[in-house]
Amino acid sequence: MSTFTVAGLAAGYQGHPVVDGIDLTVEPGEAVALAGRNGMGKTTTLRAVMGLAEPAVSAGSVRFGDVELHGKAPHHIARAGIGYVPQGRRIFRSLTVAEHLAVVARPARAGYEPWTMDRVNELFPRLAERAGQFAGTLSGGEQQMLAIARALMTNPLLVLLDEPSEGLAPQIVRQVGDIIAALHASGVGVLIAEQDLSMVRRVADRVYFLDRGTVAAQVTAAELDAHADLLERHLGVGAGHA
């Protein structure tokens, strides 16, 4: 994988800017968290990176190695090696688990172990058991796993995950965290938007804190504990409600 760089990204809705001047990088094989409370612009940033119809991007660049992604159609951005796991999972209700994987499967990339149906089933045994089941009938945790599995079938070099912990019981959050850590360990880059500190700790090498549309701070995972102030301000941790 090459270095992923977002520089000076500004984006918003109907002319109202929501994020402004976002700078961040993900080095090859790195796992980076974009942390921040609700409404700070995490989803807006990831959607802008994917080139989706909304938000409108007014400035900045999104580069993967020396390829400029800004301005490309979402399917071209995906094919450049960006896997997308959206907020709210957005599984296809009228497809079975197996169909999800088949529909988005892309050829492997030279130099990387390919994500095949078999390899994905190994990482997600629960999904393998439910291959013929319609995705709409899965539990929330299973749907989250399916959204991740689906993104892996595109053979991404970097996966964007938007609040994969949302709406899941703590025990399931842990399982999803283990899976993200496992795919990171296998060499896939990770950029995860989160407000769940346990997930950030489990997965990230480095953390950006997002505050009202700008990057307010960045620390390495090892430095997290030394920054109770950041955790309180941006994740609502500490201050009596741990």
Partner: protein
Amino acid sequence: MSGGELLLTTFNGLSFAGLLFLVASGFTLIFSLMGVLNLAHGSFYLWGGYLGLVTLGATGSWVLALLAGALGVALGGGVLERLVFRRVRGIELSEVLLSVGISLVLADLALAQFGGDSLTIAPPAALAGSVELGGLVVPRFRLAVIVAAVLVMIGLAVLLRRTRVGAIIRAGVDDEEMLDALGVNVRRVAAAVFVLGALLAGASGVVGGVFFGVYPGADAEMLLFALVVVVVGGLGSLQGAVVGSVVVGLVYSFGVALAPDLLYFVLFGPMLLVLVLRPRGILGGRL
């Protein structure tokens, strides 16, 4: 109505239902993936009829006529999708108005080219005449249309449920943006579906030319029927198109036989009833 008449009216209704399904299935497929209510679908049907008629006259071959109607309209539909519909993708009002405009242009072109008379297409020799079916004497061609519609229905069902392309279409109906963000060029899939819908409409036009003739106004009539079918069955649903076609085909057939003066009431009455009881159609919301 005697027992024989009852059976014959039912048979006629079912054969008309077959024609309706051929028209409405393409209409509903295009709607389900693209969200476009393509009001030029009736014109695709009409032009299929004219292309078939001309080809039949020139070559004498029914197979070629059917191919010309289907492929000619598919090609035209593909060009229209690429040059016109694609530009207004997602802007619903523009899409609908544009399709109305296209239908008016296509109707005028047809009038200028083929005149105002009703021209009939003779059935292929192999399907001319009648055949006895369990004591009932029925036109061979109408029987063939029922068989063809069932085959197309099975083909579409297999395509949608059993193939990767079908799964891509269903995924696109569920969440087009997400499919795009996962590396699938949804636009190309949508264009292919549009062409398939146009192909079915073109083929139906040739078949319909045997039933009713080819004439100015057949486009609007068939569009209206297709609308009633999908409203009754459920817009965007293939099973809905099946159910809607059968209901409308039978209602029409019995309406013509029993109460020709009240035909429009007989046709739209059930539609209103369905809309009041089930606003999304009998099977609305599922492909």
